[in-house]
């Protein structure tokens, strides 16, 4: 295996194959930390700026290398996995089998909580995965600490609850109730009644912007800043009633799924949607976003689940066979789909798209209402008509959390400090855009080019057409004479032409020359010497 080098003074090392593999791995990780391509410094003319930027690029390279090494060697935990031997298939493995193989702490995460009286349950987790909020349709709200399985608070509001959402931490949560939505504190006190929104179908919270987004029964989208209560935007979507709404965590854009099969994406600063995609022939029943922001899964009533690439807005994969009422992506990219009483988890096989990974069939009476992966744990929470369940899906959660981003072991002091820092870093609603990396980028300076003559003429035609097609008001009491009307119309067309003076001049000059030439041709030969020469 040793390679004898002929030029020993070249100081080049040929690494043994396993070390080479590690290098390749590290390079791949480095790419992730570099966050895109470096700047193109060749086009810069300013030498000082060039050297400054070049030294900065070098520093970025170094920090990416260091981060890649840390990821490889220093992270405390490693991801979960499920590997089968021989003819076993992963999707045939039941939760009971898993329970036998796994340690005690993890097996505590598998349970069924049966609450048959209060209707189908909707779930929400905080960002760190420590607290869970369960809202039953018949008015049961429960706030649970998942680490100790403590019930922190439960309230019975005695009216329909359609959706629940945590605000920035576990101290506040919002519930969409029969007529209005309400915000509650952790101890169950009702803090605010959000009357402006009307009866809300879905509630979601945008964490970086402190915006509570909701879609109501009329199809209006509302964004409210919860720090000072200002309604930032209320948008009439114009597409009718919908209750499918999801937030893209990568860029803060809200996606609505409509009954015509379109998925529209919205931002609070514009009244028109950013994107409209025709996803399904029938109504869209669920939408889910991958945490990296590039993939979107939608399911339609025609029993297909489609996965879309959001950079090109193209379909990547179609999964036939079931109509998913609810979809959810995990932190590691596993897709959970719930239909009826059956939950299926699809895993991302390298290069081949999503394929069957695990499944969890439940008793027929448990009709799945919502599936949601718990952050930083290998756990899938299922809210159904008889309560809620939790199952183990190895390999779905991110094993290493960052204390400054989301800490499941937070003390109250840390929570309070984090709240202050979150508020200081609150982003204004204008930063919501399809490509968030555009912030801080410089627009390339375009020299203003004069539009070509053809373009000007085209514009002129359009203006004249517009002027001609203006509908004139019908005047009464004898002022509606046809001669006056035609005069007015002529005036409008003349005004439209006036806005293109350059064209006019050229035409006139051209006409003059042409007259000269024509006249010269018509003159008799004896008078040709008197023709105007240009």
């Amino acid at each position: 295996m040793e390679v004898a080098l002929e030029d020993n003074n070249l100081m080049e090392k040929v690494l043994p194959p396993d070390e080479q593999e590690i290098d390749v791995e590290l390079e791949a990780k480095e790419k992730k930390y570099l966050r895109g391509e470096g700047a193109n410094l060749e086009s810069l003319k300013d030498k000082k700026l060039k050297t400054q930027l070049a030294s900065r690029e070098k520093l970025y390279g170094k920090s990416a290398k260091a981060a890649a090494k840390i990821e490889k060697w220093l992270l405390p935990a490693s991801a979960g996995y499920l590997e089968t031997e021989g003819l076993e298939k992963t999707w045939r493995i039941k939760q009971t089998d898993i329970a036998k193989e796994v340690d005690l702490l993890s097996s505590r995460n598998q349970y069924d909580i049966v609450l048959p009286d209060f209707g189908p349950y909707k779930l929400d987790f905080t960002a760190s995965g420590r607290h869970m909020l369960a809202g039953g349709r018949k008015g049961h709200l429960a706030l649970v600490d998942m680490m100790n399985m403590n019930l922190i608070k439960e309230i019975h509001v005695r009216e329909t609850v359609r959706d629940v959402a945590f605000l920035h931490n576990d101290q506040f949560f919002a519930a969409a109730q029969k007529k209005y939505s309400y915000i509650y504190a952790r101890d169950g006190t009702e803090l605010h009644c959000l009357k402006e929104r009307g009866p809300v179908a879905r509630l979601r919270f945008l964490k970086n912007h402190f915006l509570l987004a909701s879609v109501n029964k009329i199809g209006q989208l509302h964004y409210q800043d919860v720090t000072y209560g200002d309604m930032v935007a209320s948008i009439r979507t114009g597409k009718g009633r919908t209750d499918v709404m999801e937030v893209n965590p990568y860029n803060g854009v809200v996606a609505l799924g409509h009954s015509g099969g379109t998925v529209t994406m919205w931002k609070p600063t514009s009244q028109a949607p950013l994107v409209q995609m025709q996803c399904h022939p029938g109504p869209v029943s669920a939408v889910a976003f991958h945490p990296n922001g590039h993939l979107m899964a939608t399911s339609g009533k025609e029993r297909k689940v489609k996965i879309w690439d959001l950079r090109k807005f193209e379909e990547v994969q179609t999964i036939h066979g079931f109509h998913a009422k609810t979809l959810s992506f995990s932190q590691k990219g596993l897709l959970a789909a719930g239909t009826g009483s059956f939950v299926q988890v699809l895993g991302d096989s390298s290069g081949g798209g999503h394929s069957r990974y695990m499944s969890h069939p439940m008793v027929k009476g448990y009709q799945v209402e919502k599936v949601m992966f718990r952050p930083y744990e290998d756990v899938l929470g299922i809210g159904h008509s008889m309560g809620w369940s939790s199952v183990l899906i190895p390999g779905s959660g991110e094993p290493n959390f960052d204390s400054w981003v989301a800490n499941p072991f937070e003390t109250s002091k840390q929570r309070r400090e984090k709240e202050v820092h979150l508020l200081l870093d609150k982003l204004p609603p204008e930063t919501i855009m399809l490509d968030p990396s555009k912030i801080g980028a410089m627009r390339p300076s375009r020299r203003k080019e004069k539009p070509t003559r053809g373009e000007i003429e085209a514009e002129k035609e359009v203006a004249i057409e517009a002027a001609k097609s203006v509908e004139m008001k019908k005047k009464t009491k004898g002022r509606n004479k046809p001669s006056k009307r035609t005069k007015k119309k002529k005036e409008l067309v003349e005004n439209a032409k006036k806005t293109f003076p350059e064209l006019e001049e050229k035409n006139i000059a051209g006409k003059k020359r042409r007259i000269g030439e024509d006249a010269a041709a018509e003159l008799p030969t004896s008078l040709k010497r008197f023709a105007r020469k240009n």
């Binding site: 935990a77 979960g80 945490p291 190895p394 981003v405 072991f409 609150k426 982003l427 930063t431």
Partner: protein
Amino acid sequence: MRIKTISRSVDEFTRERSQDLQRVFHNFDPSLRPMEKAVEYQRALTAAKLEKIFARPFVGAMDGHRDGISCMAKNPNYLKGIFSASMDGDIRLWDIATSRRTVCQFPGHLGAVRGLTVSTDGNVLVSCGTDCNVRLWSVPRPSLEDSDLSSEKSTEVVHSICGLYLQECVILSFTSRAVDHQFEGDLFATAGAQLDIWNHNRSQPVQSFTSGSHSVISVRFNPGEPDILATSSGDNHISIYDIRMSSAARKILMRTKTNSIAWNPMEPMNFTAANEDGNCYSFDGRKNEEAKCVHKDHVSAVMDIDFSPTGREFVTGSYDRSVRIFPYNGGHSREIYHTKRMQRVFCVKYSSDATYVISGSDDTNLRLWKAKASEQLGVILPREQKKHEYNEAVKNRYKHLPEIKRIVRHRHLPKPIYKAKAESRAMNDAKRRKDDRRKAHSAPGTVVTESHRTRRIIKEVE
């Protein structure tokens, strides 16, 4: 079947005893942090605003002189002591730390004192003035008792007079305009009708350089090469002399005279000249055909210039009543300090710990300013230090964007300077437009634009 799930035990992730620090875990994966660029931009904006809130550069004024201050000198060995001399011959040693007051006076000069300098070991103070005297004083050594009992002595002004300090007095035949002491040596140079090099122990100059009919205005020894010095003369020359040779090594002829020169302590081959036309020109001492950099921001003559010990910045004081701090390689100032009470600034010094700037002006006051206006002085905890560094870095990353640029660049200018700048901008724009048109309408190559770096230099003479 092989299976593993994430299971975290509480003791691994929480601290053992309440005296321990909380455990912190890091994962630098960008996918855990959505919209990080927008958050960074928001932090840069907050950092820029905070910097403006905490920007209080003026520390204090030192009152005592009875006439305008003409020159100042730093003691290389003692941070707290600054010597200043005024137009009526009064030389004082100030303690610029907590008690901003005079420690002792050195009376003796009969006319204006034109130059002050301290020897490298901090023991000898050299002063020269319009009364044709060059005086050597011994600097009182600051004792430990002085600093401890300073609070008690706050009511009495500590004065020590005369005879104790004067070492030597040499009478010249002409008034001298400037004096500077060699680094690590025994020689000092006085500038007047001619350039004289003196030794402490001799009463006659060791060497003399004469150059034409005009007097030498300022002199500065090179910190790296002890035998090289730069002078500027009244006939718009900048000359570089080597003591071991008999005549000037290099000479640069400019269009206007240079009031003061300062060598870069970190790059001793470069020096910056403060010129009468309001610009400062940085030269490479080895290559003089063009200026390395032109620093333009003052509207009136620049009177004095001093480099920071880091070599990255320099401070200038100008006739237009303002003090500006420039980066060593940047064309525009990063900071301007002005007060309604501060009149024409004649001398500036950057303190040896790179934290303060001292300006001496026509209104008989010495003023102490912070070099970084929003810096927190005193002992800073490491976490605070890190936060300051982070704020600085994130602000620098986004400082070219309009919203942040507007906040970072904003400075209040006194009305005369504001108007003068607007006028000069209009004039320069008009000139440039005319030059462009002339160039566009002449044969290519006939009209040559001069670069700013060579514009004010007439020629270089060996």
